[in-house]
């Protein structure tokens, strides 16, 4: 499937009227990706409690198609909820590389964004964008489930801008830092 999607823009452009087919295909694929964001839930600290609430009855993440997966091989979204210690940093990079493309990363909470209350600590990584690329940052300590839902909706908007022509990722893959050059073609 991946090879077909990679080659498809070339084929579609070569035939007359192919652009129409290409954009409609983009739309359908993006719609599918947008409403089946399966996160690998990576609860590391107190933020994980808030993440669990978001999955539970009152906030009901399932209605967005967000269904938690236990394995990185089945996940589209790495939802880092909590404090990333230096000892945990290497496993996170491993897990990120185990996820199939296209993969997205959300940093939930001040700790995952920038170190948060542990900014001066000897053992905390000051933001996961130092080790992997991040799509959406959710501020707060901890962010309420509403904020998490808002973050997922922002990610869905971002996914709707994905195009086959540009390859798999939402935007160009970076080694680390934010993967959100908002202007790319918003």
């Amino acid at each position: 499937m991946g090879i077909i999607l990679d080659k498809f823009p070339l084929i579609a452009k070569a035939i007359p009227g192919g652009q129409v087919v290409l954009t409609s295909t983009d739309y359908i694929i993006d719609l599918g990706r947008k409403y089946s964001l399966w996160p690998l839930t990576f609860g590391l600290a107190c933020c994980a409690i808030e993440m669990m609430v978001a999955y539970a009855g009152r906030f009901d993440f399932d209605r967005f198609g967000v269904i938690p997966r236990p394995s990185p091989r089945q996940a589209d979204l790495l939802l880092i909820a909590g404090t990333v210690t230096k000892k945990m940093a290497a496993p996170i990079v491993d897990i990120y590389h185990q996820m199939p493309e296209p993969r997205f990363v959300m940093a939930m909470g001040s700790c995952a964004n920038c170190g948060g209350p542990f900014y001066d600590s000897y053992s905390v990584v000051k933001g996961i964008d130092r080790i992997i690329p991040v799509d959406v940052y959710i501020p707060g300590c901890p962010p309420r489930p509403e904020a998490l839902i808002y973050g997922v909706m922002e990610l869905q908007k971002k996914i709707m801008r994905m195009k086959l022509e540009r390859g798999g990722g939402a935007t160009v893959q970076a080694e680390k830092g934010s993967r959100d050059p908002a202007g790319e073609d918003a």
Binding site: T85, K86, K87, A89, Y122, S123, V125, K126, R130
Partner: protein, 193 residues
Amino acid sequence: MNPLAGADAVARLLAAVPKAEIASSPVKDYPTIRLAAPADLLLAARLLKGDLGFMYLEMVTAVDWLGPVNLGGFVCGGNSNPLSRKPAAPPVSPVPGPGVSYRPMLDLLWSFGNLGENRKIFLRLELPRDRAEVPSLTSLFAAADWQEREAFDLFGIRFTGHPNLIKILTPDFLQGHPLRKDYVHAKDRYDEE
């Protein structure tokens, strides 16, 4: 019901362990006993586990009483490694503060639980910071294994007789023992700008 629990347990301990005394600074209002020397620890623990029914080692931890530290311009070598027999780091001096008796001592603390009778007893032991060595309790309590590795990792206390005394919490590249008051953090690969 073991009639020896509670106050009797304290009396038995005080009688059996030489120079042990009731600690002047108890943990909350639990019976707390201060040992005089590291050699007494195994004796006390064996008595607690065997005769008095304290089968559960809840916690092994410590307090570094060095207090706020004046490193005297000395930065990189504060992280002494008790396992290496290199020349000792230059001395650091505690900064005197009001009300607290800062001293270059590590105050070790063990907590034993008697689950059958819902009782707890605490043992304390003061050791000099640069010679923090106590016998390991792993021969009596399997739970002591990870607890002692944690105390070693964070305080640099050497537990003699421990089967596998290696770091447990901090990453391999971290130098020193972070809960020591004279710990100096050396920048590592995750700290770069």
